[in-house]
């Protein structure tokens, strides 16, 4: 993994958590930092501190390619503050290939459901003031 500068994001100010920064740095490279429980092998996103399956506290990092298929999404026309200039855009949930993990994020350039059939292959491409960025392949 290439060294990446700490994320210049509002979240680094809110969450003083190393895991979050590391997660964001990976997201910028299109990768998902997951944590694999050393006891039962259950996978979580890096922001979990105890295993949701067995309660164990120790994990090893698992870097997963941010590739997957769209499970569901919406196209936002009435946005929260800061997103006005991106309207219309999609917020999507994507199931990552080869795991049971899902991740959600921002997808620009979606105007109607015809632009994004469910199951569409997609990829995480970065992280910025819009949050986790996901794009169609």
């Amino acid at each position: 993994m290439q060294p990446v500068q700490a994320a210049p994001s509002i979240y680094s100010k809110v969450y003083k958590l190393l895991a979050k920064e590391e997660f964001i740095n990976n997201a910028k490279l299109g990768k998902v930092l997951a944590r694999k429980c050393t006891k039962c092998g259950h996978l979580h996103l890096a922001t979990t501190y105890f295993c949701q399956n067995c309660g164990n506290k120790t994990f090893e990092n698992a870097i997963i390619e941010g590739m997957g298929a769209i499970v569901t999404y919406t196209i936002i026309t009435v946005p929260p503050e800061g997103y006005e200039k991106y309207v219309p855009y999609a917020w999507v949930v994507m199931k990552l290939d080869k795991t049971d993990l899902r991740i959600s994020g921002f997808m620009g350039g979606i105007k109607s459901p015809a632009d994004l059939p469910l199951g569409m292959k997609s990829k995480m491409t970065g992280y910025d003031e819009r949050g986790i960025i996901i794009e169609k392949l």
Binding site: K20, V71, I75, P80, W91, G105
Partner: protein, 384 residues
Amino acid sequence: MEKVCVIGAGSTKYGKLQDSITDIALQASVDALDSAGIEPKKIQAGYISNVFGIADKQVHLGPVIMSNLGIPEVPSLSIESACGSGSVSFREAYANVAAGFYDAVLATGVEKVTHTGTEWTTTYFSYCSDFFYEGGAGASFPGLFASIARAYLAEFKATEEDLAMVAVKNHDNGFLNPKAHLRKKITVDDVLKSAVVASPLKLYDCCPFSDGASAVILCNEKFAKDHSTNYIEVIGSGRGGSPAALQGREHITTIPSTKIAAHAAYKMAGVTPKDIDFAEVHDCFTIAELVDTEDLGFFEKGEAVEALRQGRTRLNGDIPINPSGGLKSKGHPIGATGIGQVVEVFDQLTGKAGERTVKEGKIGLTHNFGATGASCAVHIFKSV
């Protein structure tokens, strides 16, 4: 454990209100005390649910309400659990009376946000999501439920017309409720032609942002018998949780916290979903009512749509859902909603629901959750 009863209930009108957050909370509280026929001095604790008091420059509402009721020495607790604040607060009030700490308590829910405008509310409500993944990636609350809707429509062959029928039904009920925010009848066409907020949800699929306050008096059975002849009993109380973010859920069309809370409440009450005569459920968006009525066990997964089409959930159906008009038509002052549902059940079971009284209603259920169901409480009541 003590048996817990509800002996009084009151509500302001829901809608765009002019009075301050403190004033409307007090109006509902005084109505509840009057309805119970007791004086404030009988109240031993206050449970105050509210989310955005900051919008009307008053947080720490408990002592302000208690002081204005003339009982500044009475302890209070302010509770925030997003849109589920009211039911979570009711549960804490219930648990404390059941445990024997208090004989009688006041639970008041209140919200005052409409003066802030749509952008403020859309933005601040998004803070109730798992913000890093959801609000912080551009998802509004309509957007999160729209994502549930798209998955549901695809999985169960339901249509946007079906969603619209939920809104039409709840507006029909709300039309009969003098306290409802959107007190007008609408058609499926009205819903389909309304502006898209977050596809596939349109404006009329969404509950309104409302101001309003609701309050109830809870007490033990002895207190109820000593002070009233027209009260109801709480026979089941359950709570549950879900992964905070939608992405953490294996099935996006099911809300785990509802199932957990309902299971606990049914078990405590010793009843099954078939025993419930009517229910007030969390229909913040039309899709939510379909998902709720399945998760509560009234219908099998995917079958709520057919039940809706057959009219089974209408006021004259075999399981009326949201006789008050629900969040959709009655309105959704988020800190008050969970308490408002109890007010409706109280009115239904004590003969005060007027034209919208359900036939042979003996056992009523309330279901209220926070965010996309990350937190949930279910309560079951019976007439005495």
